[in-house]
């Protein structure tokens, strides 16, 4: 298990959830697994954070949920992105990109550029 976990910036968790659910409908356990795998263990979401976030997004109409039987025969609640959720995902992804580029530019700045 990787030791260097990073705290997620405020509001980022929602974006990450929207992103992975946007790839395919998933249940809560799979979302946590997926986030951990993709981030190579850096993002480790506690259930106490994940589920309230999922319910909040559902209440805001960005996600919708459906109970389905899975391949293993388990009855699970699957979350899917709504049209509104997709819009939100695109908007937030764009703004995230702008922000990280800006932050990157500033962090890469050399003494010359600043002059």
């Amino acid at each position: 298990m990787p030791q260097d976990r990073t705290d997620l910036p405020q509001g980022t968790l929602d974006l990450l959830i929207l992103k992975v659910v946007g790839l395919e409908p998933l249940h809560g356990y799979a979302i946590a697994q997926r986030l951990e795998q993709i981030s190579r263990g850096v993002v480790d979401i506690q259930q106490g954070t994940l589920y309230p976030a999922l319910h909040r997004l559902e209440n805001r109409g960005l996600l919708e949920a459906e109970w389905k039987d899975s391949e293993t025969g388990r009855h699970s609640k699957y979350y899917r992105l709504t049209r509104k959720g997709r819009g939100q995902l695109e908007a937030e992804t764009a703004s995230w990109k702008r922000l990280t580029e800006a932050v990157g530019l500033i962090l890469r700045a050399t003494a010359e550029e600043a002059r």
Partner: protein
């Protein structure tokens, strides 16, 4: 999903939540088992990762409905708490219902009487000519100039018409209106058309006399007939053509009076012939309103009117006036005042009484709040363990305070709901009681201002009595949960707030003092010597205006009627007069005695024209001289009787018999009138008046020439209620002339009607004073009971150590007596200060009447000590052995 749906589907969401979280654990366990962890260990780890209920709780928070669920839980819990304490619940809810209800009822009356505008177009630009009523010649002068001066002007006068064809009258409330009245006020016709300027012309309009009826009259008397326009309505036995119906919300131009029919001013001679008020320069019967031009201020309009005042005044000089009076008439400047809320005699008469009762009701509500706050505080100290336990389990201070506030809101909401019902009933009853003859009418809709007021009062009271217990409970210490029950603690009254008790006692004293002042006022008036005996006398008002008799024959006509009525079985005596006491009518004259130095102030005396026998019907005693007799007729020596106040004022207390007096202030020479007798003082216009100079003249001598066709017969019954004589009297009068219009009213009713205001204030303040006493008793009882319960252990120990019963009682009463003493002092100070505002409502005592104050304090203290003594005596019965065994 809206929060409302989420709230309603709470159970389904809960099931899904558990299933979802269980699913998570199962999947994790499966993964762990697959990676080689034994199942038991896997399950332990998975459960640990989720945390006991932490995740579920966070998810519930995310639903956003928690506050509502908690509110629901608090309400349910509060409701259960109330049901477990039915006595407290009843006292709290009922006292609040009475307090809130009374305030709401008075608010709704005050609102419609004082604040609400007339239901007309743009009431803010309506103004009226200040200074009472005006003559028709003045109105006609203003009417001619109305469009130069204002956008328009209108006049109206009150009237009463008779729908009956003779015999006992069927009165309807009428309105004389100018032709432009409905246009200027901006009131459209509901059906048909309004009265127009073309209807209001001398001699009648093209269609003859017309009438507009109110929506209420149309519904009640005409069965809402759709074809009502064009029908004939008989008013005072004259035909009027109905041209339209006014809208239901328009009650008329005066708040508190509701009209049934409106007829043009110019139709006055139609019903009043052979008289005619239109050209009369001394009959003041019209109110004059104007609508301002856009942008015109009331000052500009007054200035414009003042500019033409000299012409108006000169053209309308009153008849039969002395030069000084005429000069004053010419000088008197016109003044316009706003009339968005319309004039209202009812408002003028009841503003102070209603404000007084509102203040009383407000204080009752405060007393009720103090009472509930104290009961809640006592209760909260009993609940210390409960609150401590909840704190220990993680409830925040705010959460506990909120729970208590919710309980308070529940109590006040229950009180307000009940109070609203009470207010609806009470305000209607109150308005009915404002009128002595059912002629008072006020709209009291259940409207937004009233509901808002009730809600605001409910929230305010909940905060008032709930904030202190909530703060206290919020401060509770988790350690309280583990401490032993409060046994043995010595802070006897800590549950109850001393200042609250002082405030409650003080306000209660003010209320009891107010009740005492008003009840004593009512008693003083009803027990004063009226100068006559109102019981057993029936007043019969006659209107012979439609008999077609010329004025000079009316006097003998009335005498003929009197003689006929005297023959009715059961009649002990009968007399005729122009006016009767406290009837609303009066006749005043300036009178001087011949051969005496003129007094600095001319004496204005009340006058009566009476037939022989009238005084004995009333039971007014003759002090000296003789009564009138049949020989005192027109053409004989004019004579008069005077009362004792007249003798003091005009004759300086000397024997007036044989002296002569004269009417003053008339341009033509007046004959000397010989005083032939002196009678005792009697009230004339109001039940409160001091003895006033009064002169009596023979009906047959005074009622000649231009005399009003209405007079009254006063009939004394031999026994039983005098109104039982009415049918026989009506039949007797019909034998003389069946066209005479009659109204019957017992004299006792007439006098009682003049006491409506006093009786109303006395009854209401008495009721609220008694309520305050009961609440004070409950408060003190509760406080002492609580102290006894808390100090059981201490009392047991004291008694075991030798304290006797009386010492224990004294111990328990000590604080109560101290707080009550402080409260009485504060209350007495407030009473002494506040009573000045009601001095005009009092009679026969001063606002700072010491007997009332001392009596009220004594009653309050007695009730308070008794209320505290009952539980204190219980303390003395504590068995020390039992208490010690408990320890």
């Amino acid at each position: 999903m809206s929060w409302w749906t989420r709230l309603r589907q709470r159970d389904r969401l809960e099931t899904e939540l558990s299933a979802e979280l269980a699913d998570h654990i199962e999947r994790q366990v499966a993964d762990l088992v697959a990676s080689g962890v034994p199942e038991g260990e896997a399950r332990r780890r998975a459960n640990l990762a989720q945390g006991p209920d932490k995740t579920a709780e966070a998810c519930r928070d995310a639903r956003g409905t928690r506050w509502l669920e908690e509110l629901g839980a608090d309400l349910r819990y509060g409701w259960r708490g109330l049901r477990q304490r039915p006595a407290f619940a009843a006292v709290a809810v009922l006292s609040l219902a009475l307090g809130i209800g009374a305030n709401t009822a008075l608010f709704s009356i005050m609102d419609s009487l004082i604040r609400r505008s007339l239901p007309v177009r743009d009431p803010e630009s309506l103004v009226m000519l200040d200074g009472g009523s005006w003559t028709n010649p003045i109105w006609e002068q203003i009417r001619e100039r109305q469009h130069e001066l204002f956008e328009g002007a209108a006049a109206w006068g009150e009237a009463e018409f008779d729908l009956a064809q003779g015999g006992e009258a069927r009165p309807v409330q009428g309105l004389w209106v100018s032709g432009g009245f409905f246009d200027v006020f901006g009131v459209p016709a509901l059906i048909g058309r309004t009265i127009l300027p073309s209807d209001d012309v001398r001699g009648g309009g093209p269609g003859g006399p017309v009438v507009m009826v109110s929506a209420r009259f149309w519904q009640a008397q005409l069965g809402s007939a759709p074809d009502v326009v064009g029908r004939t309505l008989m008013l005072d036995r004259k035909p009027f053509t109905i041209v339209g119906v006014t809208p239901p919300e328009f009650f008329g131009p005066e708040v508190g009076v509701r009209f049934d029919v409106a007829v043009p001013i110019s139709a006055e001679p139609v019903v009043d012939a052979p008289r005619n008020a239109l050209d009369h320069r001394s009959w003041w019967w019209l109110e004059i309103h104007a609508r301002l031009k856009p942008g015109q201020t009331i000052e500009q309009a007054t200035q414009a009117l003042r500019a033409v005042q000299p012409q108006i005044r000169v053209a309308t000089l009153p008849d039969r006036q002395t030069p000084e009076d005429l000069a004053a008439y010419l000088r008197d400047g016109f003044q316009l005042v706003p009339s968005a809320t319309g004039p209202s005699a009812l408002r003028d008469r009841y503003r102070l009484p209603l404000l007084t009762i509102l203040a009383v009701a407000g204080m009752v509500l405060l007393v009720a709040c103090a009472n509930i706050a104290n009961l809640q505080l006592a209760r909260a100290s009993e609940r210390r363990r409960e609150f401590g336990m909840r704190r220990a389990l993680g409830a925040s201070r705010l959460r506990i305070a909120r729970q208590l506030l919710t309980e308070s809101l529940l109590i006040s909401a229950l009180g307000a709901g009940l109070g609203l019902l009470f207010a609806r009933w009470g305000s209607r009853l109150l308005v009915q009681r404002l009128s002595s003859r059912g002629n008072v009418s006020l709209d009291l809709p259940l409207d937004a201002p009233m509901l808002l007021f009730t809600a605001a009062v409910a929230v305010a009271t909940a905060l008032l009595f709930g904030i202190l217990p909530a703060l206290r409970a919020g401060r509770s210490d988790p350690q309280d949960a583990v401490k032993a029950q409060g046994r043995g603690s010595t802070d006897g009254g800590k549950g109850v707030s001393g200042p609250l008790i002082v405030a409650q006692v003080a306000l209660s004293l003010v209320l009891v003092v107010a009740a005492g002042l008003f009840l004593r006022t009512l008693s003083a008036i009803t027990h004063r010597n009226f100068g006559f005996d109102p019981e057993g006398v029936l007043v019969v008002s006659l209107d012979a205006g439609r008999s077609g008799l010329p004025g000079e024959r009316l006097s003998s006509f009335f005498e003929q009627i009197r003689d006929e009525v005297a023959g009715v079985p059961g009649v002990a005596g009968v007399g005729a007069s122009d006016v009767t006491p406290v009837s609303g009518s009066s006749w005043q004259e300036r009178i001087e005695a011949d051969g005496r130095p003129a007094p600095p102030e001319p004496v204005r005396a009340f006058c009566h024209a009476i037939t022989p026998g009238w005084l004995s019907v009333y039971g007014t005693r003759r002090i000296s001289g003789r009564d009138f007799d049949a020989a005192d007729r027109d053409g004989a020596q004019p004579v008069a009787l005077v009362n004792q106040a007249f003798v003091r004022k005009v004759f300086g207390g000397e024997n007036p018999i044989g002296q002569t007096i004269r009417f003053m202030g008339r341009p033509e020479p007046q004959p000397p009138i010989e005083v032939v007798g002196v009678v005792e003082d009697a009230i004339y216009r109001t039940v409160r008046e001091e003895p006033t100079p009064t002169a009596y003249f023979p009906f047959a001598q005074v009622m000649v020439g231009e005399i009003p066709p209405y007079s009254s017969l006063s009939v004394r019954a031999k026994s039983g209620p005098p109104s039982a004589l009415a049918p026989d009297i009506a039949a007797a009068i019909a034998r003389v002339d069946k066209n005479v219009s009659l109204r019957f009213r017992p004299l006792a009713d007439q006098v009682g009607g003049a006491l409506v205001r006093e009786r109303l204030v006395a009854i209401l303040s008495g009721f609220f004073g008694a309520l305050a006493l009961v609440l004070a008793a409950i408060g003190l009882f509760g406080m002492t009971s609580h102290a006894v319960a808390r100090r059981r252990g201490e009392i047991g120990v004291r008694m075991a150590l030798g304290a006797d019963a009386s010492k224990v009682v004294r111990l328990m009463l000590g604080r109560v007596v101290l707080l009550m003493g402080l409260g009485v002092l504060v209350g007495a100070a407030i009473s002494l200060w506040a009573s000045r505002f009601v001095s005009t409502l009092l009679y026969g005592l001063t606002p700072r009447d010491p007997i009332t104050l001392a009596g009220a304090a004594a009653v309050l203290i007695a009730v308070g000590i008794l209320a505290a003594y009952l539980p204190a005596r219980r303390a003395a019965r504590i068995d020390p052995a039992e208490v010690l065994r408990e320890g």
